[in-house]
Symmetry: C2
């Protein structure tokens, strides 16, 4: 693992708390509009439509479009399901909420440590503009932003990991995906990348249980991951000089 | 100009000193190899082949390839011209020098000021990996790296500016190219972007004279540009509240 040259970070769930951020924003918008809305339920139902909405694109059933559009369509379905009649501008505000999610508490302090150790980049299904906004809002520190948009596809399609690897001028086994989702790590492994699992037990809110995930490295959070790279690099240096 | 939402920075010449950096590296490599070499002459001859080498790609005479390859081919020509028989690994080291150029003295302190004012990105003919290395080496602070590579073309082709604008989800007149080269600013203006000229009188070494350049804004350096945006934004705020 010491030979890994670049770390690619999944973003939604891995670096930022979509559940808590969307819940809060939804309840604040609903209150302003004088509507009753369970923000946590909305966040969960909305996110459940995420993978199927992208599968419609990657299967070729519809041409590529960005997450703002997929999020808006999914939100309209969920609000119908919940029988909440939110006006269109308020729906747009909710969709924009995915550009302004808050980072998990270990993220802002440890991304610069990891960037000092390796090349770092986002690799998210969010489009470039969404990720630029999120990086600015949440104070995320990467060398650059890579996105599924650059492959006009969505993870876990191999072309997304391959495009990022090519743009970094590296071989797949020199690149590691850092993520909290088994499906994303499996997609990266299938494309020949290394993988690091970061546990985010609160991603789907309280009371959910995480299944064991297969990956090359396992970390409690980004601080733990940076510690593990410190130890790997110290050991590689002492082997080289020994 | 206050309505500009994103600044795209040209890199070679505008943010980093290729002339001085390449001169120094060439002379240090030549000395180590026991060869006589005029580093300044090499830097100038090498850079003169830059535009023609990219024109071979944008004209369709050859398929897209990255700057490492174009730089290597141009270097081989220049060394033949100078009758300097540099070994191949030393040539590769020189080509890698374009990943490690030093920033002009005003750059590192003022990019964060500009990033606080607007979305910022590199937009260079350097490929993504070269720019990642350069950003890390020179301490350049952008929100993200955009590159002509993402359009598989080279500036001043309109598709390069258009691709960057699309990835930022903006209209052309919301985007400003910041550059020290008339040809780059003209290409951006042709694609509908706003333009800011930054003077780099020492780009081609001592004794060169800069011609007047047409652009929406003119700045002595990045500090001056950030001051001008401060003034524009103050004035826009006072108009809005007045």
């Amino acid at each position: 693992m010491a030979t890994v040259k670049a770390l690619l970070f999944d973003v939604f769930g891995t670096l930022v708390d979509w559940y808590g951020s969307i819940q809060e924003r939804a309840e604040s918008i609903a209150a302003r509009e004088g509507l009753a809305l369970d923000g946590a339920r909305l966040a969960l139902l909305w996110r459940q439509r995420y993978a199927p909405s992208m599968a419609n694109v990657t299967s070729g059933k519809r041409p590529w479009c960005d997450l703002d559009q997929l999020h808006r369509e999914s939100l309209d379905h969920v609000l119908t399901e919940l029988a909440v009649d939110l006006p269109s501008p308020a729906r747009a505000e909710l969709v924009a909420g995915w550009h302004e999610l808050r980072p998990w508490p270990d993220v802002v302090a440890n991304l610069p440590r990891l960037r000092a150790q390796r090349i770092t980049a986002a690799l998210s299904n969010g489009h470039v503009r969404l990720l630029v906004d999120l990086k600015r809002h949440a104070g995320l520190d990467f060398d650059t932003i890579l996105s599924a948009e650059l492959a006009r596809s969505y993870k876990p399609e191999a072309v997304v990991y391959q495009t990022a690897t090519r743009l970094l001028g590296l071989e797949p086994d020199q690149v590691m995906l850092v993520a909290c989702h088994a499906w994303d790590l499996a997609g990266a492994a299938h494309a020949g990348l290394r993988t690091a699992y970061v546990a985010r037990p609160a991603e789907w809110g309280p009371g959910t249980v995480a299944a064991p995930v297969s990956a090359d490295m396992h970390a409690r959070d980004l601080g733990d991951l940076a510690d593990q790279f410190d130890a790997l690099d110290r050991s590689a240096r002492s082997t080289a000089s020994g």
